[in-house]
């Protein structure tokens, strides 16, 4: 769908980026990082961030240079149609895999913690249906929805940090490098593809009122998300000790479960579930929409909303293949992230070289 009026501004983009990346503070990603880094879990995203900063800035620089292209068009423009399709398909596959592994994890979380008696498939279908229905409305609706729900989610986040800090012990973040300096560096670099959405969202480069809005939005949203992730992970490290943190699968829920507000409110974890649920719906709405958009852009499908249903359905089927959550998270996701990281690290450099080559030819 062509956006003629382009009403989207900074705030919608910031909200969307916050949902899609910042909320990795509350899903199963910390459990993945804590596995080896232990209580240095909060340093891992800092390293990932620094590692990805270079390629990301190059990509942003290129987008700014060739004003009128989005991610896929830029790739086509710089390295040609054939090689471009190949690279774009590679990026699409990575995003697709990241989406469905994440989706399975979130489903298992909802199923296991809140609806233990319901079959996973039923929850999955309902979740996916809502995602597809909302995503069908287009980027403007999603952006406004993200902006509208942001207050609920921010209140939840602040409340969680507030109650958790009561129980947190600051000195638990020591020894500073947890599982070892080398381990922390390796974890941070090899799993930095966990934040690959920041690259994928550049597909929306042309959809904003002015492209400079996109720049401000992505930097603002990115830094807010970064702050949220680091502070959440630090709180987890301060709450659970280094030996316990890598045993816990759902750190966010566990962190809200062990605290009590005074004598009367002893089981407060359900209060924090509402904002969490909202944010996860939005996250997958945005993610699904971006993935379909990229697919549509590669094969020049104008009305790519029609792809939401088949792509969502295939994602669901594929994500149900791993026999259990643990296999999905600790084996499948870990491996796939390690493979994806070099792709996302290198492709902006490739584009840069291509652009340099093009300039010289002129």
């Amino acid at each position: 769908m062509e956006l003629n009026k382009k009403p989207l501004r900074i705030r919608e983009l910031t909200a969307m980026i916050f949902m899609i990346i910042g909320l990795k503070g509350g899903d199963t990603t910390p459990a993945l990082f804590a596995d080896h880094a232990q209580n240095a879990i909060w340093i891992v995203p800092i390293i990932s961030f620094l590692f990805l900063l270079g390629p990301f800035l190059i990509l942003m620089h290129l987008l700014k240079k060739y004003k009128n292209y989005n991610l896929i068009e830029l790739i086509f423009h710089l390295i040609g149609k054939k090689a471009g399709t190949l690279l774009a398909l590679l990026l699409f596959t990575c995003g697709f895999i990241a989406m469905f592994t994440d989706m399975r994890n979130v489903m298992e979380e909802i199923n296991y913690l809140y609806f233990p008696n319901s079959p996973t498939l039923v929850i999955y279908v309902i979740f996916l249906t809502i995602c597809i229905l909302v995503a069908n409305k287009g980027l403007e609706t999603i952006g406004s929805l993200a902006w509208a729900l942001l207050p609920v989610i921010i209140v939840t986040i602040i409340a969680v940090i507030f109650v958790d800090l009561k129980e947190a012990v600051l000195v638990r973040i020591f020894p500073l490098f947890g599982g070892g300096v080398g381990t922390v560096l390796f974890e941070g670099i090899s799993k930095s593809a966990a934040f690959l959405e920041i690259f994928l969202i550049t597909i929306a480069y042309q959809s904003f009122h002015q492209t400079k809005y996109f720049h401000s939005g992505i930097y603002l949203g990115g830094s807010l998300s970064f702050m949220l992730i680091v502070s959440f992970y630090a709180v987890y490290a301060m709450l659970f000790d280094y030996n316990s943190i890598n045993n816990i699968a759902f750190l966010y829920q566990e962190a809200t479960e062990i605290v009590a507000l005074g004598h009367f409110f002893t089981n407060i974890s359900t209060l924090f579930m509402v904002g969490w649920m909202f944010s996860n719906f939005l996250r997958f709405i945005i993610f699904l929409y971006l993935i379909c958009w990229i697919f549509g852009a590669i094969f020049e499908i104008k009305r790519f909303e029609g792809l939401l249903l088949p792509i969502g359905f295939i994602a669901m089927i594929l994500s149900l293949i791993p026999p259990s959550f643990v296999v999905n998270e600790m084996f499948f996701r870990e491996r796939s992230l390690q493979i994806m990281t070099p792709i996302f690290f290198l492709f902006p450099f490739l584009l840069w070289v291509a652009s340099y080559w093009k300039d010289r030819k002129k």
Binding site: P116, I123, I126, T129, P175, N267
Partner: protein, 414 residues
Amino acid sequence: MKKLLIFMLLLQTAVLLSGCYDRKELEEQAYVISIGVDMTESEDVFRFTFEIANPEVGSAVSSPSTQEPVQEVVSVLGTDFLSATSAANVSVAKEISLDQVRVVIVSEKLARSKKFIHLMQTAPSIIDLKLNSQLVISKEKAEEFIRTNKPKLESRPHKYFQYMLDRAKETGVIPEAPLVRFFQITEGDADLFLAPFATTKKDPKEEYGAEDNYKAGEVNIKGGNSTQFIGSAVFKEGQMIDILTGEETRFSLMLDTTLPQQDIIANYTDPLRPGFDLAARVQADKVKVKIDYKPTGKTNIDVYVSMHMNIFAVPSTQNYMINSKNRNILHASLQKQLQEEGEKFIKKTQEKYKLEPFYWSLHIRSKFLTIKDYEKADWANKIYPNANVRLHVKVRSLEFGKLLRESDLRKVRD
């Protein structure tokens, strides 16, 4: 239009049906307030006792003529919490829910056995059982404890445990011991874990010591409920090794930086008339622990405690309020008493337990960069037992209740 209507209808059924799987009716739930666990003859099988509250009793909205008892106590055999819950459902009509469990009571015999840690390992994987519920060690069998414990005034069991634990915590004679702390400390493998010690069996000491120099069961109380919460069970590596008295527990809480400091009321010897005691309310500031780590040789641990004291009762009627010379004597004496008792207790932990219950291992961690180095340095076996611990107690302020001076009893007797 018709298509749309059908679609909407289908959508609604989907939403409604999803609720059906996990629907829970309040009426159909039996809420367990406390779980007791005991040893049995055979390995790996425990006796679980569930105390189920009757929500109708004691609430203002229910009809006053309810004839049902306050609680139901069911006890079954099981290998872990979950299997025991389903086994208990054989005799309980409602679905047993562990959502509201406030205390997990474990008998001393089980806590002292090696099986205890295996039992506890099954707890975190249960979604229902919240990790903020408290662990309590009972001197007798946990089943007996739950059955004998009949509070006279707080008939609703969940209120009883809540008030009882809060009150005892306020006087500092029992520690705070949520299950999550047990796991943190046991898995950290560098400190001692303390859990409240309780009993319903009386075994009173005849002589009256200081009011807090007791373990549960030793306090000479007449009338009321026979349950006593005082002192704490000491766990080393997930196994109970000893019992601390109320006073020792108070010191361990005071020296622990991770726990919120509470005002405690305690007795101290009157320096001018040693036969008498003073009652004081003590408010300790957050403890500062400084560790000077020496990889070879003795590590120095400096502990700074500063507190504010409020003297409430001076039965000897010595004039400490106005007379500045007496006041200085009192100040110095209180400081010395606290210092000596604290040092005595620290020495005991170093020599008898070879480990501390103060969670001080946290403070040495900043000296290491990685967990590997930290574990190699071995706080539990190498550093602490040989360390040079220096306690610095400082009484920062001394207040005296609401009287300006005690009346002179000698004149009264005249």
